[in-house]
Symmetry: none
Subunit: 245 residues, 2 copies
């Protein structure tokens, strides 16, 4: 487990106090890597600093980026906080199981835990970039946690999972090729779209659920570099077959 | 377990926003009984109401009393949040074990979880009124959680302990299509071989590891029927592109 390999990503956060609250929650639980995607709140801000209290150092290291893609590009495992994905089911973990997996992944990979807007969470498009969704069990009649409170619960579970696993011998699957990151995965989906259009399997004007289902499938599969190369090789061969006509 | 038998008690809280944050954390986790001991913050207050968000009903039912003794008078089990008791050792539980005991106690007793001042916590005199102290495992270098964050972690653990005790099923992924069987999977691999030969990506005389790697990938992915149909559709479209030459 490497705490420094677990990143918290906040998308379009509106309230500066929440950014400070998340920073404090992170530092309390030994996390340090905070990335803000296009914050609506002013940042840096006095309100964030006040709420961060003893975690001002986290805010000082916080990076601001324009897009979620940038925030997760170098991460091999991405998990998004969500009440539910409305259109199709997505692999789902509760907070405790998510933390256990995050700690295991962080041994050799970079992990991103993504939290969405205060009022509307993450969009479907954002959730589809995630390998898993994470759900904090809550009151069915009022299940929406404050974003800093959600970060606190998730960071707390990560810390507890780390304490539980520390020192324990771990069975590790030795992979012969490294796991791909979010940027490589996004490149694969662009290649899929392009190739499937070329062979007349995909019509962007009538997309139905095609790309979403492919994303769910290959996010879940946690591809390595060789598998990525094979899939892209197949797509290129299909495009070439079409062009030879 | 009776959620209504678990009370949160806040002593001398300074910031109205924290009172609202505690109320929201409680309602998110099905708790409802909040008592304020001699708050320093104005109460009721607009800041508390704003932070409470959808938990304003909790604030409306909140009682204000003058002393900790009044707040816990009718409780059979009282637990106080503390980093450590300075003068004498006291029975100590971590947050998870505290929640399990609180849920068990709440079957037949009234429970109070007491949280102290933002800057100085509970006094020794107050801690000595408690049956147990509860400690939230945290970063040794910065272990002081915001009071609403601490309430969130404790309330979350109570809710999880309740779910566990109620024997409720873990979070389940509802899949919209059934998982495919081994025969369907074998058919997919035959289709892969045939289509990849057609588009000149696979040479059976020089197979290398191609089919083995595809098998490892799609076995691991645990495909459903719709995903199978999509993959076979793509393979058929690639074959058709080739044939149109």
């Amino acid at each position: 487990m490497a705490y420094e390999n677990i990143r918290i990503v906040l998308v379009n956060t509106s309230h500066p106090g929440n950014i400070g609250g998340v920073a404090r929650a992170m530092k309390n639980m030994c996390l340090q890597d905070l990335v803000l995607v296009d914050p609506i709140a002013e940042f840096p801000s006095g309100k964030a600093t006040a709420r961060a209290s003893g975690a001002v150092d986290i805010l000082e290291q916080t990076r601001v980026v324009a897009t979620l893609d940038e925030a997760i590009a170098d991460c091999q495992w991405v998990v998004g906080a969500s009440a539910r994905l409305r259109t199709i089911p997505w692999p789902l973990l509760d907070a405790r199981d998510c933390a256990v997996k995050a700690v295991a992944e962080s041994e050799s990979h970079r992990v991103a835990i993504v939290l969405g807007r205060e009022n509307s969470g993450l969009t479907n498009e954002e959730l589809e970039k995630c390998h898993h969704l994470v759900h904090i069990p809550a009151n069915a009649e009022y299940s929406s946690l404050n974003i800093a409170a959600a970060a606190q619960v998730l960071a707390y579970e990560v810390h507890i999972a780390h304490l539980a696993q520390a020192g324990k011998a771990k069975l590790k699957i030795e992979n012969d090729y490294p796991r791909i990151n979010a940027q490589e995965l996004e490149g694969l989906y662009q290649h899929f779209e392009q190739a499937l259009m070329a062979i007349d399997f995909y019509d962007p004007d009538n997309p139905r659920q095609l790309m979403r289902r492919l994303r769910r499938l290959f996010n879940r599969a946690e591809l390595d570099r060789m598998e990525l190369n094979i899939l892209r090789g197949i797509l290129s061969a299909a495009e070439a077959a079409q062009k030879r006509r």
